[in-house]
Symmetry: C2
Subunit: 394 residues, 2 copies
């Protein structure tokens, strides 16, 4: 049922002010006259909103002036130091942090070693809080300027309630992780599935810029996927869409650590590569397989060839289910051996359903290691920035 249209002046004012801030953020530097032209609002209204935003510290007048004919106009820009968010990326062997300013630039990175399987949720939260405190203090930032924390976590995440429902990488089940961080630091915190954070990042800053129908496949230890359509991350019923790794290929296939047989990730992730390789060579790391393949060793080339075939199948299955116009390949398995993207292309005639051939492009991730830190920072900005639309829901 449609909602009644209300002519609430405060709501309208807030909405227009936010819109002007968004315009300045996206098109900076920009003059008052240009904003007036874009919004078709009166110059007086624009002037008033701009003054308010200046006073509140969100924007500032720059030394630049407009270059066209006529009277020189002062250019407006946002104030990067107005507010900050913190993006966190929890991986199997390390945790990465980034301090993102209001211009959505990550100005400080930080990384610590970590052993997911040997750390309790409590220890992990403690480590994260300690590092965030150190980072904020090193920068001499007042805590109230940090408006939120975003954390990308590998696993099935209840995004609305901030709960890690299940994470094979971390070995956690039903951990209310966002609340632990909030309680300790008194900073609002949002957590989300790592690949959903990553695709948001690719959409805002990376390979998916300008595409509105992008799927991302992440292959490392395990395999997963995410989808963004018209700027919205596709979440499914309870934020768990995209768990590609446990789709079944073969009911009599390889045993997976989830207890099922024939899961896709038993054919294509790092562990499956290493297990294959160990039949003929004493290796411990997937990079050794890649080195051997580059060295034209027959067994390694065969493994890489077969991996490319299964990546091709994965792409076909994603395209059949999600029908994207772009597929981004990401994760350590890809990033350590970019040549594999061409090999996948060679298989495409064999593995892609004919009506979909030519309807999408396959590209490697642009952002690589920092994507999740950036996306998590952006997620926190979207959720917690003052004035932003989302705030009314808190």
């Amino acid at each position: 049922m449609k909602k009644i249209v209300k002519h609430d002046q405060d709501v309208t004012k807030q909405h227009n002010k936010q819109m002007i801030l968004d315009i300045i953020k996206k098109q900076r530097p920009i003059s008052r006259a240009e904003i007036t032209k874009i919004t078709k609002m009166s110059a007086t209204s624009i002037g008033r909103f701009v003054s308010e935003l200046c006073e509140e510290g969100f924007i500032r007048e720059t030394n630049l002036t407009s270059s066209g004919l006529g009277r020189k106009a002062v250019m407006l820009d946002i104030e990067p130091g107005a507010i900050y968010s913190i993006g966190v990326d929890i991986e199997k062997k390390r945790i990465s942090f980034g301090l993102m300013d209001f211009s959505e630039t990550v100005t400080v990175y930080r990384r610590v070693d970590y052993l997911a399987q040997k750390s309790t949720p409590g220890e992990t939260a403690e480590l994260i809080c300690r590092e965030i405190r150190a980072m904020v203090e090193e920068q001499n930032l007042p805590y109230e300027k940090v408006i939120g924390i975003g954390i990308g976590v590998p696993g099935v995440i209840n995004y609305e309630q901030g709960i890690v429902q299940f994470s094979a990488t971390l070995g956690w089940k039903n951990v209310a992780f966002a609340k632990r961080i909030e309680a300790e630091l008194q900073i609002k915190t949002v957590i989300d599935n790592d690949l959903k954070v990553k695709i948001l990042s690719e959409y805002l800053y990376g390979s998916a810029k300008g595409s509105n129908k992008t799927a991302l496949i992440g292959i490392g230890t395990g395999i997963g996927s995410a989808l963004i359509i018209n700027g919205e991350v596709f979440r499914g019923g309870s934020n768990s869409a995209g768990e590609l790794g446990h789709t079944t290929l073969d009911p009599n296939g390889n045993l997976c650590d989830c207890g099922k047989r024939g899961c896709l990730q038993t054919y294509v992730d790092e562990n499956s590569l290493i297990m294959e390789a160990r039949r003929v060579s004493d290796i411990t790391d997937v990079r050794q397989v890649y080195a051997a393949a580059r060295n034209h060793e027959r067994w390694a080339k065969e493994i890489v060839w077969r991996t490319a075939l299964y990546i091709g199948i994965t792409i076909n299955n994603i395209v059949c289910m999600y029908n994207p116009d772009t597929v981004i390949l990401s994760g350590d398995l890809i990033e350590n051996y970019r040549e594999i993207v061409d090999l996948v292309e060679e298989h495409s005639e064999q593995v892609i359903w004919e009506p979909f051939r030519g309807t999408f492009k396959v590209i490697p991730s642009e952002l690589r290691g920092d994507a999740i830190v950036m996306g998590a920072g952006a997620l926190a900005m979207q959720h917690f920035a003052p004035l932003a639309g989302k705030q009314a829901d808190e």
Copy 2:
């Protein structure tokens, strides 16, 4: 970027009038006082909108009066004969039609035999137009009361442009089918993928009522899927999401008529059942396999058991990718042997990824054969009903 809030009085009036019509449609019969209470608008405004809607013929005053205390109020209802739409379901061997009135009841059904593979798009359009004309004339309906036609077509459909991009069932490629019907009958026409129409129908009238995160699997000759989230059919990038049948299970598996190997539909559709059965028995129809299974013939029970296993795998893969709270099983393969739903349930421990177990229910379709006719009629109502929100886009 957010849009500027405009205080356009006509738009607001139109919006509120449509809302009142929607309320009457959903909660009929209803009194003016109840509408006033729900909308929180003034009694005068409600009175004026109701008068307008009566004059325009969309609603009427009934003989019923309200039952509570106080002054008896006249109850309002919609006028079923105000406008009509026509729903069409094109299948391999028949085409079904339904005349849907403004109360969204299909009052007349019609069905004709048809051989998809032996008919050109032109012949098919001719047949459809002839039957629609006959149906409208039999009912003595003035043509201008039929505001639109909706058609469910098996295949990859460009929904916005009304083009059948690819249909294996019909043997068509790139046919601008909606335009043909429109040109012939001078009635606006929308076409969509059959399973997308079916899930809309299940959402509005059937098993998916009340669930907002429902996936549907259709298994007959071929296998496909659809998803509805918060009342919106999930379309993917170009309306082709859900092509489950050509996801690959095994790169060395059964050859599919699409030219690939190991497509899911080579393991689970009617043709695959028949082919399996013909190794040991001279059957031509899947119903013979089911009859034999009911008769406890070992080979037939084995085939049905294996089919249930692959349906279970299909459900796992849908749930991993879409994360729905309900999965509807539909199509001839299910509807001719409802017992299979229990057999699928028995496999679930083996085939469903553990974190998703218990997060969704599996139910057979309620609407069976008429779902697509009803959904197509509803689709046409949504698209073409006067006053409705969509009309502004035409």
